[in-house]
Subunit: 431 residues, 2 copies
């Protein structure tokens, strides 16, 4: 294996006018960056184009100049606006023709659903000449790949489940085999470590990590702030010759990041706050009940995103009205009258109330003003109280003052509540 | 105004390694497509690049070949990985220098927060020579714009609130003035109409809309399926000479789409299911309470995303355990034992229970198996029952069988429940 072997860069081309317009989360890129990175192939560019044949052609022409692996997603459906097949054929100078193996796979799939291919769906079996058909084990649209101008062009459906399965079953083995036989070597695996923090501003995280990376070290530090906290990433640049050294350096840096971020760090990698909280609850044998006001059910929703969460989430009360707080949780009406529904006293009472009614070990509560209306001079929009009660008679509370719109305040409140619970568990003597 | 005047195309370049890796929703593109479209400028391409100077340079060089308006977002922060300033200067052959107006704006902003600029933040005042500084009315990083190779390059922060305000206050007036004085005309406004459907498969929507658009008509039809339903869009191609005719045609097509999709169509434009349901509840003076099992709080969360929802959402119960269903809603234990927690009988009982306990007009319930575990042969993962009770003694229920992972099943269940409520309201005699 020569040090000078050409390294492989990848470009993702996502196709769809709706994607161009945005507004949706792009999970495909996350998945592709991971899978390709594991093979040592770096995703350097991502292009998004609408369902216009000429624009897709331009994107392909641009991509082959700067990437050796081009993964196209979308535009393989049966409807008229799906024109990826035509665009690839046109750009690479191949003809489209109906392919037996594509038709068979699709027909078999539709048959399982008790359907026969209609005329529109038959379009999906049209594949550029010279391309290899990639089976779709989940949906009806087959994919394909071909080599053009020294680049491998892979075309896959945009539906995440279909795309992911096809990458695992078809594309990864192909890339593995291809990079071996062609002498075109991928880099050593690109190692990427992600850290999730909550409670620090981006500039504070930046300050804590100042001077972390030695000058000239082949590791990139990335920061990204969102309402859910600041994400920190370390990524090796991936280079055949220094991979061993890189790995040691990364190891050291990971340790440094952990110690510098201490307990602001709540998760690493793909782990989420709700998974971390779930594991900690399980480890301690705790059963949780939640009382939500301004978050409206978001905390319950997040906790129950985790498979098996019924083992530690008993119930939740969404108490939007004051009457609901009294009837569902037993918050005294006088307490609300005296301190207001958004107060540490009511947060404490809500946490106790839900814990007692659910007969569980821990009650967690949130009450706040999500806005845009409802704020006053003393209780502005963004004022949020979190309460936690474990039945020892001393519920604990914390005040937060968040900025942002209604959605941001709800998101941050849910994250703050789960983080409060996480930190409380860490402070407990382990059983 | 000449028909031959050059039309303007736009490209968005989003900068950030974390964006390249994906996994987050890109609201910036949605906003930019809207704002530019209103000026008749079509977003044709979107490029995403990491925080690598050379890759940003390549993206700029590619963009100027195919777009006349280039909007770059991100990479203007104070941290070392923010290198958009350097990349623009390098690509366009300008020098970077600290600019008085950039420094003043930033210093004033930080002063408001009781801070003075630190050394890292001073980098944010470095602007390519010849560029115009764009004020940031919200954050500390100024933007800038300059003309290069006949394209207008605009560089803005990636933080949505900052980017949006700067586009409104600085970029839109600039584009208006520029397109007027230069004789480079934008197209007539690109009109885009979006329709949201639920309950039909993409191929069924496609079939219903077959032959909608006359041959050669300058309108594009787009379809996009997601767990929340199928989105349909009509977009005029925007052409100075036929704008009047286009508008009439679009009007007619909008009518056609509405009638073909009938009540599968639940919203148009940026409207969401939860907003539609909120308006219908308000119109009818109804107060709602929700009982959720498998959705875990998602329905409550979605309804309370709407400002002012406290006027029609009283409370919600998240009853994950059977005991919670009995204690919070009064679902008889025998009923659960006889029919199982996931049954139409329990769904009906949950809806009645929450309605009675909340003393409200409508109770809505969901119980189902979100998976991946918990399914049986007769009750597979994805089996979901929705219940609705209005106190007339005849709760109504409906069975659904969804496919997908836990998250997809939760999302679809919440959408199905809200749609069930919406359709029920439409069937009521208006008061």
């Amino acid at each position: 294996m020569s040090f000078m072997a050409p390294l492989l860069d990848a470009e993702i081309i996502a196709i769809g006018t709706e994607l161009l317009i945005g507004g949706r989360s792009d999970s495909n890129s996350l998945f592709l960056a991971d899978e390709l990175g594991r093979l040592g192939i770096a995703v350097r560019f991502k292009s998004v184009v609408g369902d216009e044949r000429q624009d897709i052609v331009t994107a392909i022409q641009t991509a082959v100049k700067r990437a050796q692996v081009i993964v196209m997603t979308g535009g393989l459906g049966p409807t008229v606006d799906d024109c990826t097949r035509e665009a690839v054929a046109y750009a690479t100078g191949h003809r489209l023709g109906r392919r037996k193996e594509a038709l068979e796979g699709m027909t078999a799939r539709l048959l399982q659903w008790g359907r026969i291919p209609n005329r529109a769906q038959l379009r999906q079996a049209m594949i550029p000449s010279g391309a290899t058909v990639l089976k779709n084990p989940i949906g009806s649209a087959p994919g394909f790949c071909l080599t053009w101008k020294k680049a491998l062009i892979v075309s896959l459906p945009g539906v995440p489940r279909e795309m992911e399965e096809m990458v695992r079953q078809e594309v990864v083995p192909l890339l593995r085999a291809g990079t071996k036989s062609s002498g075109r070597l991928p880099r050593s695996p690109i190692v990427r470590q992600v850290f999730h923090t909550f409670g620090l501003a981006e500039s504070d995280v930046d300050a804590k990590l100042k001077g972390l990376i030695p000058n000239g070290a082949p590791v990139d530090l990335g920061l990204l702030a969102s309402p859910m906290g600041v994400l920190v990433s370390l990524t090796t640049k991936g280079n055949q010759s220094v991979s061993e050294k890189n790995r040691d350096l990364l190891q050291k840096l990971v340790h440094d990041v952990r110690s510098r971020l201490s307990d602001w760090l709540f998760a690493e990698g793909r782990d989420t706050m709700e998974e971390v909280v779930g594991r900690e609850l399980t480890k301690r044998g705790l059963m949780l009940a939640i009382a939500e006001s301004c978050t409206g059910g978001l905390i319950g929703h997040r906790l129950t995103q985790v498979a098996g969460s019924s083992a530690y989430v008993d119930r939740g009360a969404v108490c939007y009205s004051n009457q609901a707080k009294t009837e569902m949780l037993g918050v005294p009406t006088e307490l609300i009258a005296r301190h207001g529904a958004v107060s540490k006293e009511v947060a404490a009472s809500m946490a106790c109330g839900i814990r007692e009614r659910a007969h569980v070990s821990v009650g967690l509560s949130v009450t706040g003003i999500a806005g845009p209306g409802g704020g006053t001079e003393t209780k502005p929009v963004g004022l949020v109280y979190i309460g936690l009660d474990d039945g020892t008679g001393r519920p604990i509370t914390r005040e937060f003052r968040f900025h942002g719109d209604r959605n941001v305040i709800k998101q941050r409140s849910s994250q703050a509540a789960l983080d409060f619970l996480r930190r409380w568990m860490l402070d407990q003597v382990p059983t």
